[in-house]
């Protein structure tokens, strides 16, 4: 227990002193998580809406594929992308391997099924009369989708939270695609794993606390936003 207590003491000292390395890693993690969440939700939410509201050939298969992708192991996604982005891979020319962009690509692939599958379920939960009402009052496709989304705002906020939670806490793809390079691709999760392995519990705990704080701030922010919307 002593080493844990010591770890917390060190963590507090690092955080209060504004340790450059800790904040650098936190900022990079935040940047990757925000960019990946925005891309995954930007594509995944409209995709979920289409899966929930349009009847087309192969819709059931698409839903099954998206739901199956929810359970993709992160290291497998990392491995596949590693093959694609490595120098000999088809996307090797991009030169993204071991960059933060590669981690973003991996995170997007992991968060996209969450955004699509959960938003499809959220939209399916909205009373179908809402969509018909918007349409019969003259709303076009986008405004109809927006009206339905407003009705499902609580569920959709939870979808965004879940997607963000996935990317901010992910380690497999970040380790394989980013390489855990200090000052370049070291994220909170990869750093925690590394410093724990090196026996630097204080730094690991400090980074772990920052990770929890980020998750807490995002959740509270979304809850506040939800609370502003009445009936």
């Amino acid at each position: 227990m002593e080493f844990l207590r010591e770890g917390f003491r060190r963590a507090l000292a690092l955080l209060l002193s504004g340790d450059a390395e800790v904040f650098g890693i936190a900022l990079l993690t935040l940047k990757i998580a925000v960019v990946a969440t925005v891309i995954a939700c930007g594509v995944g939410l409209p995709l979920g809406y289409l899966l929930a509201t349009r009847r087309f050939w192969g819709r059931r298969a698409a839903l099954t594929a998206v739901n199956t992708a929810l359970a993709f192991p992160t290291v497998v996604v990392g491995l596949l992308l590693f093959g694609l982005l490595s120098r000999r891979g088809p996307l090797g020319g991009l030169g993204w391997l071991y960059t933060w962009q590669a981690i973003v690509v991996g995170d997007v692939l992991l968060a996209l099924p969450i955004a699509a599958a959960l938003s499809a379920a959220a939209v399916q939960g909205v009373d179908p009369r809402v969509r018909r009402t918007a349409e019969t009052l003259g709303a076009g496709r986008w405004l109809t989708a927006w009206t339905v989304a407003r009705e499902a705002r609580f569920a959709l906020a939870a979808v965004i939270t879940a997607a963000f939670g996935q990317v901010v806490a992910e380690i497999g793809a970040a380790m394989m695609l980013g390489g855990n390079i200090r000052g370049s691709t070291r994220t909170l999760t990869t750093a925690v794993a590394l410093y724990t392995a090196q026996g630097d519990f204080g730094l690991a705990v400090a980074l772990g606390l920052v990770l929890i704080a980020i998750a807490l701030v995002v959740n509270v922010t979304l809850q506040v936003l939800q609370g502003k919307g009445g009936g």
Partner: protein, 335 residues
């Protein structure tokens, strides 16, 4: 104006609407009557261009409508569902929704919103949200919301099902006011109802739907039944608390129609060949659009008979008076 041609509409393979032709002329005040499940709501959704028919086409001003109706065309018709939902926001925002969608300025939108809100007695509710309204108020807001956008065709599905008499009266007055105010573009209204009383009071054209098809007979006294053998050449159908005898070789599920003009009305049971003799009390006496007097009586089920004004006077038919309705088994239409 809007017409269904050769429409067969299915849900999960089940045929719910089968109409060779159904036209709604411009400026008409049309009522579609029928039981729950007769296909009225589906019909209105097709007319509202919210769904495309499985087979057949919707024709608007002579031109077939594509499966995904253009927004500009959809904006000419508005549907108020039987159990409407209000969107997130206040009553004011709900009534103004269609106006905002059409890009109408804030001041003009507010003016129009206040106008329809006043017609429907909603001015005091403008700042309320959906959770603070009764079912009847929600229904009135939905009608106001639909009227606000000045559609060419207004479709109303059981618009007074949650309204009391006063609110229903206010709603019909608002509709009349709106129709009267239209000069260049007449307002066409199509109401689906299972209440014949409403239909007769407001519509100038009444059509009956039964099991997704247009009924070949007048819409009064329509019943969905299960036919069971009752004699050598008759079948019996349980309707409400009574059994109606009919001559048909059909059995199982069917729709019965008792033509109101074929019902003999008397104070005492008649000695006649009529196999159906039903005692009850008069519930309503009203002038019939097609001439004569419509006498509604509760004889175990509500039936309407048409008699002459003279017969009505002679028999002293008035609400609560005892009455006997008699009709032959062969007079009952089965389809």
């Amino acid at each position: 104006m809007v017409e269904l041609r050769g429409v067969r509409h299915r849900y999960d393979g089940r045929l719910v609407l089968d109409l060779e032709q159904f036209a709604v002329p411009a400026g008409a005040m049309l009522a579609v009557v029928g039981h729950n499940g007769a296909g009225k709501s589906t019909l209105l959704r097709l007319l509202a261009l919210l769904e495309a028919p499985t087979e057949g086409s919707v024709v608007w001003d002579g031109a077939p409508v594509p499966r995904r109706a253009p927004t500009a065309l959809r904006r000419r018709v508005t549907l108020v569902e039987q159990r409407p939902v209000l969107l997130r926001g206040t009553v004011l925002e709900n009534i103004g929704f269609g106006l905002r969608v059409r890009g109408i300025g804030r001041a003009d939108a507010y003016k129009r919103t206040a106008e329809v809100a006043e017609q429907l007695g909603l001015l005091s509710l403008l700042e309320r949200r959906r959770t603070e309204l009764s079912d009847g108020e929600v229904q009135r807001v939905a009608v106001a919301r639909a009227l606000a956008v000045r559609p060419d065709v207004l479709l109303l599905d059981e618009p007074t099902s949650s309204a009391d008499r006063a609110a229903a009266g206010a709603m019909y007055r608002a509709l009349s006011h709106e129709r009267a105010g239209r000069k260049a573009r007449p307002l066409t209204i199509c109401i689906a109802s299972h209440q014949l009383e409403d239909a007769y009071r407001w519509a100038d054209d009444i059509r009956a739907l039964a099991d997704g098809r247009l009924s070949p007979v007048t819409p009064e006294n329509l019943f969905r039944v299960e036919l069971a053998p009752a004699g050598t050449d008759t079948m019996s159908a349980r309707v409400g608390a009574i059994d109606i005898l009919v001559t048909t070789d059909r059995a199982g599920p069917a729709v019965l129609a008792v033509p109101p003009g074929d019902i003999f009305v008397s104070r005492e049971p008649l000695s006649s060949s009529a196999r159906n003799v039903l005692k009850g009390r008069v519930t309503r006496v009203a002038a019939h659009r097609g001439g004569g007097v419509a006498v509604t009586a509760d004889v175990g089920v509500e039936l309407i008979a048409i008699v002459t004004a003279e017969a009505c006077r002679e028999l002293a038919l008035a609400p609560d008076a005892p009455v006997v309705f008699s009709f032959k088994a062969s007079a009952v239409r089965v389809f």
